[in-house]
Symmetry: C2
Subunit: 349 residues, 2 copies
């Protein structure tokens, strides 16, 4: 069966703002499956902050590779359905997740870790939730929030927790996990609407718009005696503010630094890193892909909370593969709420 597939490809490394003109849509005829390969029709493909790093000519050393120009974008999570399989572990009709995204049909080598290490082809248990949830709370996003708190921050009883980008995909899950575990939780986000969402919908104890005055002042107001944990997806001035307000034995779970992803020059780190010495602080970086052994645990914990209606989950779905670059731009501009993903329109779906 000769399959014609559409792929988004990068044609130029953006410097600064990401625009659709940095990409093209190409049609390719997929080769016949080789032994061990599986043909997947993608239903949803992910739009992650970390993609911005892969769009750079050279990424941070040791992290995800940069995308190659004029080539399919490997290393982006997608979910879909197996159409044809030459691997005995997969059969047509299986719901699966994998790392060969931003295309409608993908030829996926079973058992092989994708570029960037985001995952191998894996069946997903759709009794826990619909497929797109596996790009969200039931997948690596949920795992990021979960291991960030449990492993990265070593969350302890009584901790006061600040989550930045708390209306975002990972942040909204992290903030709710901390609430569900009984903590006082402060959230920050980039608009008044998002702040209302954090208070009214997610039930956080305090929330603020980081554009609105001093971050440190907001934190001091919400936690006069200081915070214990900062879940960091932002870096920059947010990390600086955390170091100024963390009390003794505080912890930072470092999950990313979206404030720096669009800069062309390396950004200086916080000027108050010495606070780590002064207050016995721990800063721990982590990647969900290094904790895939806990994915089962995290998807079950979060799946139960979702089923009980205790975990809220928002997503911004953009329709049509050709709008993936635009979706990425909107997410980086803070113009989406919750998890951003693209619904892939495939012929015959």
């Amino acid at each position: 069966m000769a399959v014609t597939a559409r792929q988004v490809q990068l044609v130029a490394h953006p410097e600064g703002e990401v625009r659709p003109s940095h990409f093209r849509i190409v049609e390719v005829t997929l080769p016949e499956l080789a032994e061990g390969e599986v043909l997947v029709r993608n239903l949803f493909t992910s739009v992650d902050p970390a993609l911005r790093l892969q769009l750079r000519r050279s990424g941070p050393e040791g992290y995800f590779n940069s995308f190659r120009l004029n080539a399919p974008m490997d290393g982006i999570m997608s979910v879909g359905e197996v159409i044809e399989s030459r691997d005995r572990r997969f059969a047509p009709g299986d719901a699966v997740s994998h790392g060969w995204g931003w295309r409608d049909f993908a030829v996926v080598p079973a058992g092989v870790v994708s570029v960037g290490g985001v995952g191998t082809l894996a069946k997903i248990d759709t009794s826990l939730g619909p497929p797109e949830m596996f790009l969200g709370p039931l997948g690596n996003m949920g795992l990021t929030a979960y291991v960030g708190l449990v492993v990265g921050a070593e969350l302890r009883d009584g901790d006061i927790v600040w989550v930045s980008a708390a209306a975002g995909a990972v942040g909204s899950i992290a903030a709710q996990i901390a609430k569900l575990m009984g903590h006082r939780v402060i959230g920050s986000a980039g608009s008044a609407d998002k702040v209302r969402y954090l208070i009214d919908e997610l039930g956080l104890d305090a929330a603020f718009d980081y554009h609105d005055g001093s971050i440190v002042d907001h934190l001091r107001e919400a936690a006069p005696d200081g915070i214990d944990v900062y879940f960091d997806s932002v870096g920059g001035d947010h990390l600086q503010a955390a170091l100024a307000t963390l009390r003794r034995w505080g912890r930072v779970a470092m999950c990313g630094a979206i404030s720096e992803y669009e800069s062309t020059e390396p950004q200086p780190g916080p000027t108050n890193l010495f606070q780590a010495v002064a207050n016995n602080l721990t800063l721990r970086g982590f990647r969900a892909s290094s904790h895939l052994d806990r994915l089962g645990e995290s998807s079950h914990v979060l799946g139960d909370w979702l089923a009980q209606g205790r975990l809220r989950y928002q997503q911004t779905i953009i329709d049509g593969l050709e709008h993936a670059p635009e979706a990425l731009g909107r997410m980086l501009a803070g113009d989406t709420v919750g998890k951003t993903l693209v619904r892939v329109d495939t012929p015959g779906a």
Copy 2:
């Protein structure tokens, strides 16, 4: 008994280089002891890098307080002998350590933590070593090296360890502890003489002068596959180099940032802090004074190694209380080896 004591007092907050003119020596008549107070004749008083922070008009928040002008300098470790006691736990002749330094005779309130939290008045067990050793490997210095590795860096079998300022008081102990625990150890220091000392005397596996080319290149040469632990007393370009060369799951024990202590402006942090996310790194700040519960353990472990001749220990002793400011300046300029301390000359000693 009316005792006349000499004290070093700060008269101006230095900006940049520390000079003797920032200090004065004053003679004061000590008051009669109140109940619970002890009169100590100091034998040695400590010269620590962290003093530089206390000389600033305002120090890093949450860390040691700044010294007050024209007042005795509380919060500096000293060792001495009890002359008179109005506390039942101490008697004349007892060898003690305490935090009321940079003076010849001190009135010390027993059971009270000094400014800066460096310690209370405590008897020292001189069977483990001479009193001045309790300002070094048998005291907070040794504790800093010990807990930095064991708690801060969570040292594990097989770790390759880089210690900066490895010819310094804390660094030389940390480097040797790591060697004695069976690790491959790289040391860095600020002169060719010190580098020779690290190799020839301390037996480190590799050593380099950080003035001499790129720190990253030196580390890559000494550990082509990367390092696992960095014991940081320097900050700045050293921490940046560590982040560039630490391999996955690496750890930084943050003990201080001497490269920044003389700067009048806050110094930007490393531009590559994102490596913590990329490589699952942990950066942990610590203060020995927060781990005083392990002082007994550390002084016994290090005391045994000293007694067995397996732990080398260098000190630079400057004679005369009036030379304490000069001693501090020399230490900050990298012009001393090992622990720097001042031998206090007292009438009748």
